[in-house]
């Protein structure tokens, strides 16, 4: 168990800055997810926490102890890799036992601990095999076993599910979440998959180009994105973004574009008339039935549980998430309703959020 703190962390590879003055505090026993597109510095951050990369500047603390210059084998963290990284010459048992053997743990205890971890991961029948004889899912379980057998102070995971197929990923997600609950250890989990981040995290850090964009609970990140990048990175299908400007009128402000006139709830926007903004509307927040806009359905994609409809309002294409029972066909005119409290307004120049959705 450990609290992990990064202070003014900078990592450069030659001229490329992978992490830029990053400040991050990970609470004890928290499940923290680092989320971002590839090359955003999330894996580098994880490697720095593990001690596998030296920092250019800044410091890493575990429980207020300076760890920046402590080599990885003395940090007592465990790590799971995307590629599993099992020792091919060792059996599954020896793979899991390796860290214990290095610590000169007594043979009977090793046997007991490995057996315990294997039972937890349901791989007891595989212990005598070699990694080359295992499937991808089994290998990832062994990699998890290698990490949990040690009772580490922090559990680091670098896209552990990216090489698995979709169905297996959902099972493993639940397994990892359960592990977090039973182990009561700090988890730091790197992924580019928003579904993994949303379902597993206590808190999410969204990163881009080595800089933290937003830090918060999955709910905060999704419902109150701090900028355009965060708003469009999370959510599937993506949030609808429409350029326009603000206009003040009696009783508040509105978003205006051509025929659009959308009233906004946030009073702070009322006195910023003329400002160039981007309006963000999540597909599920566009209600069919209402009188704010009228759209023409262009494309209907049924998913079984729901359906996505691409529809046009003037020259703007919007994606709507529509209930499975509603019958929509191409060419239909759809009256749309908008909830003013569920709209996001971003500054066009800076991309920063001007209003978010208030706390529900």
């Amino acid at each position: 168990m450990a609290k992990i703190a990064c202070r003014q962390l900078t990592k450069k590879y030659g001229n490329v800055t992978a992490i830029d003055r990053l400040d991050l505090e990970i609470r004890d026993t928290e499940f923290m997810v680092l989320l971002g597109p590839s090359g955003c510095g999330k894996t580098t951050t994880l490697n720095v926490i593990a001690g596998l990369e030296e920092v250019t500047e800044g410091d890493v603390y575990f429980d207020d102890t300076l760890m920046t210059y402590v080599p990885p084998h003395k940090r007592e963290v465990a790590m799971v890799f995307q590629s599993y990284a099992l020792y091919p010459q060792k059996t599954v048992f020896e793979n899991i036992a390796f860290a214990l053997r290095l610590r000169k743990v007594h043979d009977a205890e090793v046997r007991q601990l490995v057996q315990g971890a294997a039972e937890q991961l349901e791989i007891t029948h595989l212990l005598e095999r070699r990694p080359s004889e295992l499937s991808g899912g089994q290998r990832q379980r062994v990699a998890l076993g290698r990490a949990i057998v040690r009772k580490p102070s922090a559990f680091l995971m670098d896209e552990p599910l990216s090489n698995l197929d979709a169905a297996l990923r959902v099972t493993m997600r639940a397994l990892i979440k359960r592990l977090h609950r039973t182990m009561r250890t700090t988890f730091v989990y790197v992924t580019h998959d928003q579904a993994e981040a949303m379902t597993m995290a206590d808190r999410i850090v969204v990163m881009r180009d080595g800089v933290i964009q937003q830090l918060g609970t999955p709910h905060e990140i999704y419902h109150r994105p701090r900028n355009l990048f965060v708003a469009s990175f999370l959510g599937s299908p993506q949030i609808n973004l429409v350029d326009g400007r603000l206009e003040a009128h009696e009783g508040g402000g509105s978003f205006v574009r051509g025929g659009w006139r959308v009233p906004l709830a946030d009073a702070r926007l009322a006195n910023q008339s003329g400002r160039e903004v981007v309006l963000g509307v999540r597909p599920e927040d566009l209600r069919v039935g209402g009188s704010d806009l009228e759209a023409a359905a262009e494309l209907v994609s049924p998913l079984g549980s729901e359906q996505y409809v691409n529809a046009c309002v003037d020259d703007v294409e919007l994606v709507l998430r529509v209930d499975k029972d509603v019958t929509v066909s191409t060419g239909d005119r759809l009256p749309l309703g908008l909830d003013p409290r569920r709209l996001h307004v971003f500054d066009k120049q800076t991309g920063e959020a001007l209003s978010g959705q208030p706390e529900p």
Binding site: L52, P71, H73, M79, F81, S83, Y87, L134
Partner: protein, 308 residues
């Protein structure tokens, strides 16, 4: 059955016949001299130069081996004719040094093989895995030393080793041979180490290995084919080396087999059967080693480490 589906037999037979023929020529080319060496080592001197030559020994005997191994110290200019007075063969004057030289060659070879792997593995690990400043420069410097021909280094080496008082010692040979084998071995091992997925390095560090631990528990076991190849390479280089041994050793304290055996051919009279018996003795240890280690030289040890 359509005509197009039938396999034309004649070209197939012709091709295998050609391949067989070429293989035979190749085997004869490579193996012929070795066979002649072996054949003449088990026949009396008189048959070595028989005309027409016989391909199969007429009456095989181990006498040549017995004679040169048991030559002992009594071989002098006066007694050397005693080797086999009947056929007039002459015991080489160096025969009494054969066994000490065999030991010298073997001990130097084993020392070079082991030290070579220890030095090269640590160096290759550092260059392959640790991103230290001056890494490229180090690598190129190591490789460039191998571009210089050995003959150019002989005089400086001789003077240097003389200053250290190492002339005529096995240590002189061992250090010199290491200078030849280490750069090559580093180069081979770097490539091998870099082919091991880097995640394994990370996993081992996280599991609690120091750098030396990673090398010992992960990289050396996985690089076993390359390590065994390096052991063989270093041993053979040392075993066969002639030029440096000739310059750096002057008596049986440290003289190796190639020096002693070459001496067999420098007597007033040369007996091919004795010379070739010594030659067979010289090729036995490397062949035995090769057979012993052959099973380690297999590839595909990293299968299953990472995805794909």
């Amino acid at each position: 059955m359509s005509g197009a589906a039938r396999r034309p037999m004649l070209p197939v037979i012709g091709r295998s016949a050609l391949l067989m023929f070429m293989s035979f020529i190749f085997v004869f080319y490579v193996g012929g001299p070795v066979y002649w060496l072996f054949k003449t080592s088990i026949e009396p001197e008189a048959q070595v130069a028989a005309v027409p030559p016989n391909w199969i020994p007429q009456d095989p005997t181990l006498f040549n081996f017995e004679a040169i191994i048991s030559a002992g110290n009594e071989v002098t200019y006066e007694t050397r004719r005693q080797g086999d007075p009947a056929t007039g063969r002459f015991m080489p004057t160096g025969a009494k040094y054969l066994l000490p030289a065999l030991w010298n060659s073997f001990s130097v070879g084993v020392a070079v093989a082991i030290l070579n792997v220890l030095l090269s593995a640590t160096a290759a690990y550092a260059i392959a895995l640790i991103h230290f400043r001056g890494r490229r420069f180090t690598l190129y410097t190591i490789l460039v030393t191998r571009v210089i021909p050995d003959i150019a280094l002989i005089v400086p080496l001789f003077l240097l080793l003389r200053n250290f008082g190492l002339i005529n010692t096995k240590a002189a040979l061992i250090t010199t041979y290491l200078a030849i084998t280490v750069p090559f071995t580093i180069f081979i091992l770097i490539n091998y180490f870099q082919s091991v997925p880097r995640e394994l390095y990370k996993a081992a560090r996280i599991d609690g290995c120091s750098h030396l631990g990673v090398l010992r528990h992960v990289y050396l076991p996985l690089a076993m084919p390359a390590v065994v190849a390096s052991l063989m390479f270093a041993f053979l280089t040392s075993w066969n080396e002639f030029l440096f041994a000739l310059m750096l050793t002057q008596n049986i304290q440290a003289q190796t087999l190639p020096i002693i055996i070459s001496g067999f051919a420098l007597d007033f009279t040369v007996s091919f059967s004795f010379l070739n018996a010594a030659g067979v003795i010289a090729i036995v240890p490397p062949v035995v080693l090769a057979i012993l280690f052959e099973r380690y030289i297999v590839s595909g040890l990293t299968a299953g480490a990472v995805k794909g």
